[in-house]
Symmetry: C2
Amino acid sequence: MNFADSLINKIKSSSPICVGLDPRYSQIPEQIRNEAPTQGAALFEFNKGIIDAVHDLVPIVKPQIAFYEMFGLDGLAALSRTVEYAKEKGLLVLMDAKRNDIGTTAEAYANAYLDTTGDFSSDALTVNAYLGYDGIKPFVEACKKNNKGIFILVKTSNTSSGDLQDRKVDDDDIPVYELMAHFVDSWGHDLIGKSGYSSVGAVVGATYPEEAKKLRKLMPNTIFLVPGYGAQGGGAADIKPCFNKDGLGAIVNNSRGIIFAYETLKGFGPETYKEAAREAVIKMKKDIEGVI
Amino acid sequence: MNFADSLINKIKSSSPICVGLDPRYSQIPEQIRNEAPTQGAALFEFNKGIIDAVHDLVPIVKPQIAFYEMFGLDGLAALSRTVEYAKEKGLLVLMDAKRNDIGTTAEAYANAYLDTTGDFSSDALTVNAYLGYDGIKPFVEACKKNNKGIFILVKTSNTSSGDLQDRKVDDDDIPVYELMAHFVDSWGHDLIGKSGYSSVGAVVGATYPEEAKKLRKLMPNTIFLVPGYGAQGGGAADIKPCFNKDGLGAIVNNSRGIIFAYETLKGFGPETYKEAAREAVIKMKKDIEGVI
């Protein structure tokens, strides 16, 4: 089944929440760190607990690959085990790697992340389109062939995203992020599934609700991956414009706010980090349901 | 020593050539593939031969990480061994990974590639600045702290690079790649070494000589990493504008044209792939010296 259709089906039966698996090592409960034979093993053990706690409440998890790469091969082995375990538990896996390169190299990246087998074989991948269409095409083709998805950076959640993304281009008087939205809409056209959504998605930060409102209209068939909710400052009202009138069209990511909820939610601690994560997802689901 | 100074010193005593280690598996001589216990082992064995053949002729090698990631953990183990071996042989290592993310995640990437230790610890890294300055700052800080370098994508060598990079921005009437050049020049200011060059470099494709000419003026202290020579169509005349009048300021990358020279150079074959690579570097050096 087309990736977008799989994701939309899962959202309908659970929630539009993506759990970001960014296991910042120093925040992993001490007991796990002490008992694990390696740092990578601690990352996996921690992730396994999170996946166990949330797998029936969310459609998809998003490992941020930097937090694994920083531990070298040991960290990447943990990533591979995490991907495998999440799939076993019925979750879709979105690899947040923001890969980008010229065509023949992009093809190699597609083989790494959007093939049907391999240590890092995921359901979807984030990509960066600074290089233009020929750097994106191999990913789109892999999506078609293997029922996978990509999410292209459009308007990112960080403070400096405007340095380039807000600049007005050409005589069109539209900012770069709108130009990118037109690209995403057009590049994803052939991958629209029965759900009406395309397997070519867009990254649109929760921290820019005004921009999201415009982008929602420019990309009616595009699923938005929405980072920036929670730790980065975005709230429920901010993510509202990312959804279509059908209450679909977006998955809202939360990483730290869920996986390290034990540090902030009252009544939880390191020994109940799983329960805290589950509680955080339930709260977030209610929060989102209040606005869509 | 500041990365730029190390690189410039090495260029002066060898050549302005960067050897791209993109070991496309199917092009690796059959004997190596047959004898290696794993695909990753074949990648490393092949790379080792290339490094042995060229290490005294060039300052730097550039593994393109996609060609390792596509073989999963086995491929990444080969990458780690390649990085280690290249350093042992006195070469600088530029990891071509085009990483990019928001600040706290960029910091994790900097830990992975620009730290002084770790499986993938390199001397420099390619990065993509679509996210703006706060996504680049952690890399710049790692460069300062650890004497490392980065190369920011400015004008890439591929056909579609103009989709975004050639668009004129704001009322300045300058294309995106020139805006990016201004950023690179300013972000790299604090990292200018005794050589007069900065450890914050730029990627400028050999396939766009007119643009390179303009960019050379806009970034006088910036070292250009120039892809696109050889297999992608760029020749010596095309790379000329990437150099300053001092004959410095650029490293010209060649991947396929060197590592798989045995397929194209007369008198060589799979069993003499090392000699062919050495011959290709010598030819390329003469070719470049003819124009700078």
